[in-house]
């Protein structure tokens, strides 16, 4: 009885008791949700265009951040370091197409997935050989202080992260919806063979997709790096992207965003209000439980492409 009360009644009484605190928790959750979305986006882009689940996305985030920090340590100003890091990610896209995807053309999705696990190790290793394995501080000059609106505390760093995330998503959505290249990318995602038959060269498409995913990884790397330091554990945030993808759908850019926000808010709220009942630290597994529930009841996710079936 006491347990039921703690699960179904008490948390809601708490929420009603102090709505301002609740709002603060929700906003905190939204902010970390944006960060999850940024990582999930990289997965969605590659999955959409090639049907490959890119296990190395987390390593790409780390690699991009390491390159940026490395360039800055060598004395490059921020803008130059950004350009260098972006250049390295594009070069990586070319290399992946040339040495990995081209050799594996027409293989099963699972084989490509295994190849990305290999890529994951190569990137982790190469990043650490080149830049060392110390935790590095990344300061990109985003303001980090707080202000209050109506009794709710806002953090300027989180706000700028949210803003950058929103800007990037809008750009990507416009790119996919309205440019010939974006249209070609969606066409490839729908039907490789038909795309080939109308003369869309898959090699070019792959380079473009991996470059865009690299750029997204760079942005995610900057935000996470500035928040938590550039370190090996950045690779692990890729694991957090997985429930986001299951929630939002593997093929949907808006899904990655909304999924990220739901996971972010969900785990914060759950931690604060339900955490004590379960002995705390439910933030760590809440996202996966949510993902499991979705897999049972709505496997294509909230926004995943419906499988069109005509009878």
């Amino acid at each position: 009885m006491e347990f039921l009360n703690a699960v179904f009644v008490a948390p809601f009484l708490d929420i009603a008791d102090s709505p301002v605190f609740f709002a603060e928790v929700v906003i905190g959750g939204l902010m970390s949700g944006v960060m999850y979305s940024l990582v999930a986006l990289g997965f969605v882009l590659i999955f959409k265009a090639s049907g490959v689940f890119n296990y190395a996305q987390g390593a790409m985030v780390l690699f991009a951040a390491l390159t940026l920090v490395g360039a800055m340590e060598k004395g490059a100003p921020l803008w130059l370091a950004l350009l260098i890091a972006l250049g390295v990610m594009v070069a990586l896209a070319f290399a992946v197409e040339r040495f990995m995807l081209r050799k594996l053309i027409n293989q099963e999705g699972i084989i490509l997935f295994m190849a990305t696990i290999g890529l994951n190790f190569v990137l982790e290793g190469a990043g650490q050989i080149a830049f060392g394995s110390d935790v590095k501080r990344l300061d990109v000059g985003l303001p980090d202080n707080s202000f209050e609106v109506g009794g709710i505390l806002f953090n300027t760093f989180d706000l700028s992260a949210a803003f950058i995330g929103a800007a990037m998503v809008t750009t990507l959505a416009l790119f996919f919806q309205f440019t010939p290249m974006g249209r070609a990318l969606r066409a490839v995602a729908d039907d490789h063979q038909a795309a080939l038959s109308v003369g869309i060269p898959l090699k070019t498409i792959w380079v473009v997709v991996w470059s865009v995913a690299g750029a997204v990884a760079l942005v995610a790397g900057i935000m996470w790096g500035a928040k938590a330091g550039v370190q090996f554990s950045l690779v692990l945030i890729a694991l957090k992207a997985l429930p986001v993808l299951i929630l939002g759908g593997f093929t949907s850019v808006p899904g990655a965003i909304v999924g990220g926000l739901i996971i972010g808010v969900g785990e914060k709220v759950a931690e604060v209000y339900w955490g004590p009942t379960f002995g705390g630290a439910i933030e760590g597994w809440f996202a996966y439980m949510l993902a499991l529930a979705f897999l049972l009841f709505r496997p294509q996710g909230l926004f995943g492409e419906k499988i069109i079936e005509r009878v």
């Binding site: 027409n106 070609a184 038959s197 003369g199």
Partner: protein, 283 residues
């Protein structure tokens, strides 16, 4: 249009001595390094013609078309013998992208529309290789809508939710957007009502007459295909067993008997058929 066509002919002529637009010479195709599918197929498509490729399931029609458009590579098939010439130049090593740029495009069997794109977006993907500017592409789009008024009505529907006939029209329209000289059309009648089949073939005929597009079409619906085709080839087991002008093939007793199901007298036994075919020249 007519003048440019003859000019192209002349250019090709300089290279080869005035050959057909497309010429396939004795090609052999092997899938997965072991499965021999085409055992020496030769055919010509003269400029401005509709040529039909007929035969039963598994005869090698689709493989022939894919060998020409070079989509075989994506299915682990390869042309191991023979050569393919287009406008007098060897094209068997080109990518599909290069071929589309040169004016050869395939409409695949089973339509293969991009399901999640709208009809109009589907059409626009066909213009991916065009480099002559937006205005010209918009003009082509209007042209496609002129030939397929139905597509204009459905332009903003997701292609996956349109009817089979509309999808076939979308697929043909999409190929037209590339400004092709030649369309390889695979089984346009598949799964469509007879009336729609007729409609689609009428449009193919019009495109051929008005736009000067040459067609190589693979069909199981022999009657309809031969009515519209200038020339026909009949494939069996990866070989051409018979060829001739469309109208002549339509009159041919054996074609009537074995492909049109029209019998002139008593039914002949299957053994006679085999015997008859063995005497035919293999090309």
């Amino acid at each position: 249009m007519a003048t440019t066509a003859t000019k192209d002919n002349e250019e090709a002529g300089v290279l080869t001595g005035a050959g057909p637009l497309l010429s396939v010479n004795n090609i052999e195709v092997i899938y997965d390094h072991v499965i021999l599918v085409l055992k020496g197929v030769s055919l010509d498509v003269p400029e401005g013609n509709i040529v039909a490729l007929l035969g039963a399931n598994g005869a090698g029609k689709t493989t022939t078309l894919k060998a020409i458009s070079n989509l075989l590579g994506a299915e682990r098939g390869e042309v191991t013998k023979g050569s393919i010439h287009y406008q007098g130049q060897r094209v068997d090593a080109l990518t599909p992208n290069d071929l589309v740029k040169r004016g050869v495009i395939q409409v695949m069997e089973g339509r293969h529309c991009f399901e999640h794109l709208t009809v109009e977006e589907n059409l626009l993907t066909g213009a991916y290789t065009r480099e002559d500017g937006r205005a010209n592409v918009a003009q082509s789009l209007e042209k496609v809508y002129h030939y397929f008024p139905r597509l204009k009505e459905r332009r903003s529907s997701q292609a996956g939710y349109t009817s089979g006939g509309e999808q076939q029209m979308t697929a043909i329209g999409r190929a037209l957007m590339a400004n092709p000289k030649m369309i390889l059309l695979d089984e346009p009648s598949m799964g469509l009502a007879p009336q729609l089949v007729e409609e689609i073939f009428e449009i193919v005929h019009k495109l051929n007459k008005d736009e000067g597009v040459s067609f190589l079409l693979a069909e199981q619906n022999t009657t309809v295909a031969l009515r519209f085709a200038d020339y026909g080839y009949i494939l069996e087991n990866g070989r051409v067993v018979m060829d001739g002008e469309g109208s002549k093939l339509l009159e041919n007793e054996d074609v009537k008997e074995f492909y049109l199901g029209l019998s002139s007298g008593g039914r002949r036994s299957f053994r006679d058929v085999k015997h008859y075919r063995r005497r035919k020249r293999w090309l």
